[in-house]
């Protein structure tokens, strides 16, 4: 954990020194983001193709409700889907609402009793974190597009519902920071979760905290020049990167923010963050429970050695005849 924290702090130091002291604006404003995007795209495609290249030999959904069987028994359409529509529904519930996490119960033995208590905190924390992250990503399209699409502006208005201060206080960033802090605290203070955690589990948390903090500071405290930032960002997207003159006009913290984001997306494909794509491919969730209705084909279904009836009867024929059981060969 310490190592992960140090890594993020070191990164901060490097960017600060690089931009503010040595004036390496081009490196952190252009090279790093481009390299990160390339690594991200390459890594993501490679990983997903890698998963997809392994077949799904068996139909192994985890069924979480009543099966489809007799006509008068209502089947659980989404928790145990037997149709494609049902599967799509199950996946949407999983991806948008974290259906499985919602089931969470806390179970422990207390005073000679197994106690089960519902525990929605993880679900709430995870949901808040992921949704706010998405809102923030969409909000940032404002810097990357011209003209800004209507849904981006709309979202920002909703996000700025609490009209506090100027520039308008956007809830999503603060909620995300809170949620990510909760996820971190959980890892830190629950002995069990700390026991299973790897450095690789803390690193993205710290990085995201860094992104959120630098972003909030840029908006509310440093008040970097939004027009400059937008010009730089548009330059990156349109493959006409800004010159060093323009880059130099942006605050150094902006480069910290940008580099943190770059490191996060470059790191993404090699890490557990790939769960975002992986959940869609999970065979226990994305298959219909219809294995008795439709034959699922295994591409590598090789022949195996079996003990045939003939071999069986050869061994037991006399005993079978004595017992009056029918045999094939007398």
């Amino acid at each position: 954990m310490i190592i992960s924290a140090l890594a993020v702090v070191a990164l901060l130091g490097v960017v600060y020194a690089g931009v503010h002291v040595w004036g390496m604006h081009v490196l952190f404003g252009i090279v790093v983001p481009y390299v990160a995007i390339l690594l991200f795209a390459y890594g993501l495609i490679k990983r997903v193709m890698g998963w997809a290249s392994s077949p799904v030999p068996f139909c192994i959904p985890t069924t979480c409700g009543q099966q489809k069987s007799l006509s008068w028994i209502e089947s659980s359409y989404f928790d145990n889907p037997h149709t494609t529509v049902g599967v799509v529904g199950r996946m949407l519930l999983e991806v948008l609402c974290f259906r499985s996490l919602f089931r969470n119960v806390q179970t422990q033995v207390r005073d000679g009793r197994v106690a089960h208590g519902s525990d929605e905190w993880l679900w709430i924390g995870a949901l808040a974190f992921h949704w706010c992250f998405l809102v923030i990503v969409i909000r940032h399209l404002r810097f990357l597009t011209e003209p800004v699409p209507f849904f981006v502006s709309f979202l920002e208005q909703v996000d700025g519902f609490f009209q506090v201060g100027l520039p308008v206080f956007l809830a999503s960033g603060f909620i995300m920071l809170g949620a990510v802090t909760y996820l971190f605290a959980r890892r830190l203070f629950s002995p069990r979760i700390r026991y299973i955690s790897l450095p690789a589990d803390y690193f993205p948390l710290f990085l995201i905290m860094g992104i959120a903090c630098s972003g909030i500071l840029l908006r509310h405290l440093v008040r970097t020049d939004v027009v400059t930032v937008k010009e730089i960002a548009l330059g990156l997207v349109t493959l006409h990167p800004a010159g060093s003159g323009l880059l130099a006009k942006a605050h150094w913290l902006f480069f910290v923010h940008l580099t943190f984001v770059s490191v996060l997306i470059a790191y993404f494909p090699t890490s557990k963050l790939m769960h975002m794509a992986g959940v869609l491919l999970s065979p226990t969730r994305n298959l219909a429970n219809n294995s008795r209705m439709v034959r699922h084909v295994n591409p590598w279904n090789y022949p195996v050695k079996v003990h045939t009836y003939e071999e069986y009867e050869d061994e037991f024929r006399d005993k079978m005849k004595d017992a009056g059981l029918p045999v094939e060969k007398e």
Binding site: F58, S75, S100, L101, R192
Partner: protein, 547 residues
């Protein structure tokens, strides 16, 4: 009795002590905490003769307590090649190696962790046991960053750890219900056991039944004439109780239906009473069906060995259906058997295009949901009969019984047969009470002895693993006076009996068709005064019977 008892007997353990689960975590990280293999929590290794009979590699004498497990010289290569091959074959495995975020949502869902407290029995850590090896040898991050990325070297110690913890997972899939990505530790355990088998490392409680089943057609090694005797013996008992002489068709060509059930029902009480229930029901309906001696096992301990072994054993069912020329197949009350039949059989040994879509000859119901495998569950069949009013039932015959229902892991989480058994039980019993919501249906708790772990030398782990279930049973016993637990699984019927006796004394285990048969009014029966266990039937609520 406690002074005489050994670690493989229930009397050796004290519920008061066992319930005080030690949840303190080791002071060392899990990678630095070596596995401690102690009696009562592991299962004896496979005898060489069984491996030899099955043609499986590296048969040898070894013991888990030995420092040297006599691994083959190129063991490391075998494991790494084995992992590589399985990554290419199973998307599930590849994906589950990559996407776990260690959120811990699965941690307290495993009955072995709840009742045992060993952190490596948290599903997430169980999976990390392989994942750490995968990272080091198959991912860039693991190669570069080593332990920082959660990677570690494959050593003989790791193999020992795998043996201990992959045989402390009952492949119940409960963790998979709660994981946000559906990571199924049962799937990882299955692969882990496959890898161990490549080194000749397996347990006798699984591989002896596998070898038996391969040879004689069933796990118990009952030979054809023995099976005939057993079923005829049941028929005699039935006659004693009902006055009706039921017929016992075996290996009958031209039957319409092949019936396959777990062989545990032939041998061990209380499964035997359920088996009598099948015989009575089929006789009463005048069903043109047959038992088979060649396919005399519905269960499949191959599932607990490797995908290949599962296929080798399962092949007999379709082969026998073809040989006998039946129209379709019906399966008895079993748990893991139904995982195989429902999720693997058709893929492995199908297509069953020589069979017909199952149709009930009594009600005419076409079981469309089994139109490809051509195999239905007997509880689906019976529920349909009852719904159509085709059975004469007197539920008051079960009035001494206050029953609760234990969803077996596989039928619940690898199939979803939840309502049918409840409907049948409620139709034949007047007193039915559910256990708490967090312990039934898809959230059901394992008996603690599934996936081939239900042997006596594993008694401590079984009782610990059975704690969450046992505690829920105790709850309904105290709240509603429940005295019977119904389960449609042969392993449950064997393993829940001690679990209930230990954690919820006074509750007995029964199968569903035992209850059906007790309530069934048969044509030409004499006045029924005894149940199938030959105990008095009827209304007066006697005190809880003890075995």
């Amino acid at each position: 009795m406690a002074e005489q008892a050994r670690f493989d007997q229930m009397g050796y353990y004290d519920p008061e002590k066992l319930v005080r689960v030690d949840t303190t975590l080791p002071s060392t990280g899990w990678m630095d905490t070596p596995v401690a293999i102690r009696p009562g929590t592991y299962i004896y290794p496979v005898k060489p003769k069984h491996l030899e009979y099955l043609g499986m590699p590296f048969a040898r004498q070894w013991a888990p307590a030995d420092p040297d497990w006599k691994l083959p010289p190129n063991w490391k290569e075998i494991i790494l090649d084995g992992i590589r091959e399985r990554l290419d074959r199973f998307r599930s495995f590849k994906l589950f190696m990559d996407i776990c975020v260690r959120c811990g949502a699965c941690a307290d869902k495993c009955h072995f962790f709840i009742g045992g407290g060993d952190p490596k029995n948290m599903p997430v850590l169980r999976a990390e046991l392989i994942r750490s090896i995968y990272r080091r040898d198959f991912t860039v991050a693991g190669k570069l960053l080593g332990r920082m990325a959660g990677a570690r070297e494959l050593t003989p110690e790791v193999v020992k750890e795998w043996f201990y913890y992959f045989f402390q997972c009952t492949e119940c899939r409960r963790c998979s219900v709660f994981c946000p990505y559906g990571i199924d530790t049962a799937e990882i355990t299955m692969i882990g056991r496959e890898l161990l088998n490549l080194l000749g490392i397996g347990i006798n409680w699984i591989l002896e039944p596998v070898a038996n089943c391969y040879r004689t057609g069933n796990h118990l090694g009952i030979q054809p004439h023995g099976l005939k005797d057993t079923l005829e013996f049941f028929a005699e008992d039935i006659e004693t109780v009902t006055g009706v002489k039921v017929n016992v068709p075996i290996n009958k060509k031209g039957a319409d239906i092949l019936f396959v059930t777990p062989s545990g029902d032939f041998l061990a009480d209380p499964g035997t009473f359920t088996c009598m229930g099948y015989l009575m029901l089929f006789h009463e309906l005048g069903l043109n069906y047959t038992w088979s001696t060649y396919a005399s096992e519905g269960g499949n301990f191959g599932l607990f060995t490797s995908h290949e072994t599962m296929k080798r054993l399962n092949a007999k069912i379709y082969a026998e259906a073809k040989r006998l020329g039946v129209k379709w197949i019906m399966g008895g009350e079993c748990g893991h058997m139904w995982r195989v039949l429902h999720q693997y059989m058709d893929t492995m040994n199908g297509p069953a295009d020589f069979l017909e879509v199952p149709v009930s000859p009594i009600t005419g119901t076409r079981f469309e949901h089994a139109r490809s495998t051509k195999m239905i569950h007997i509880v689906e069949f019976t529920a349909d009969l009852i719904k159509h009013g085709k059975l004469k039932l007197d539920p008051s015959k079960n009035d001494r019984i206050k029953v609760t229902f234990h969803d077996s892991c596989n039928p619940a989480r690898a199939m979803g047969i939840l309502e049918e058994p409840r409907y049948v039980i409620k139709s034949v019993c007047n007193h039915f009470h559910e256990m708490p919501a967090n312990t039934i249906r898809e959230k059901t708790f394992c008996c603690g002895g599934g996936a081939g772990l239900g042997t006596d030398e594993n008694m401590e782990m079984r009782l610990r693993g059975g704690l969450p279930r046992g505690n829920a049973v105790k709850h309904v016993r105290d709240a509603f006076g429940v005295n019977h637990l119904a389960a449609m699984c042969a392993i449950d019927r064997a393993t829940l009996a001690p679990v209930c006796e230990f954690w919820a004394p006074g509750v007995r285990v029964t199968g569903i068709h035992e209850l059906v048969a007790n309530a069934l009014i048969m044509k030409g029966q004499t006045e029924r005064t005894l149940n199938l266990r030959q105990e008095p039937l009827g209304e007066e609520a006697g005190e809880t019977a003890h075995e």
